[in-house]
Symmetry: C2
Subunit: 126 residues, 2 copies
Amino acid sequence: MESLHSSVEAYGSGSLREQKWSPGEKSVARKAFDGALERELDSITQEVKRRASGIKAPSELWELEEYLSDCRKEINSKYDYRYSMLLIVFGQLVRQGWLGIDELRGLSEDKVASIQLVADFGKKRE
Amino acid sequence: MESLHSSVEAYGSGSLREQKWSPGEKSVARKAFDGALERELDSITQEVKRRASGIKAPSELWELEEYLSDCRKEINSKYDYRYSMLLIVFGQLVRQGWLGIDELRGLSEDKVASIQLVADFGKKRE
């Protein structure tokens, strides 16, 4: 656990945030980011269709509104495409299953390791 | 038009707000109010099902959220079951088609006339 803590602390202190991204890595990152976002939005869409088609009581209308509002807030806060944030963002997406670690092929080994670390660290905290 | 203005002004000044409601009238009012609310909620539910089933782009998710939010605010502000407000509420519901004037049979003639006046006044302003 010590190594996990050290790495996450290193991220907070800036050493991971300041990593350089090559043009090739930026292309991989953009594709991975967009793919995860599309998958998560598709999943929300299916859930909204499922919930809407089953509405029987008015209270379920407002529950659907709340669900959509929560989703929008989460999507907006989670999908932060700043290079200084991407390792954390990708780590979270891998942990939640919206992104496969294999989609990050092309990123440097240390970046992938950091992303995997964030994903595993999040799992242990859940 | 003068009579419409006078009546609506009379409402604002309190003479219509302070009308007494007999037990029989309260029963008619409750049934009319609940019936209109149920119809309007049913209509919203059908519209939500229609919109949800047709969602193709993520932007339509947030449009559905906005639609639901607007509906909830309108329902909450419009369905005000205070006797001091009911003539205005019923007038608005008749104008919008959620309530038939025949459902108000059992209310005093002057109440029904006031409700009809509010309904017609609203129509002319639209």
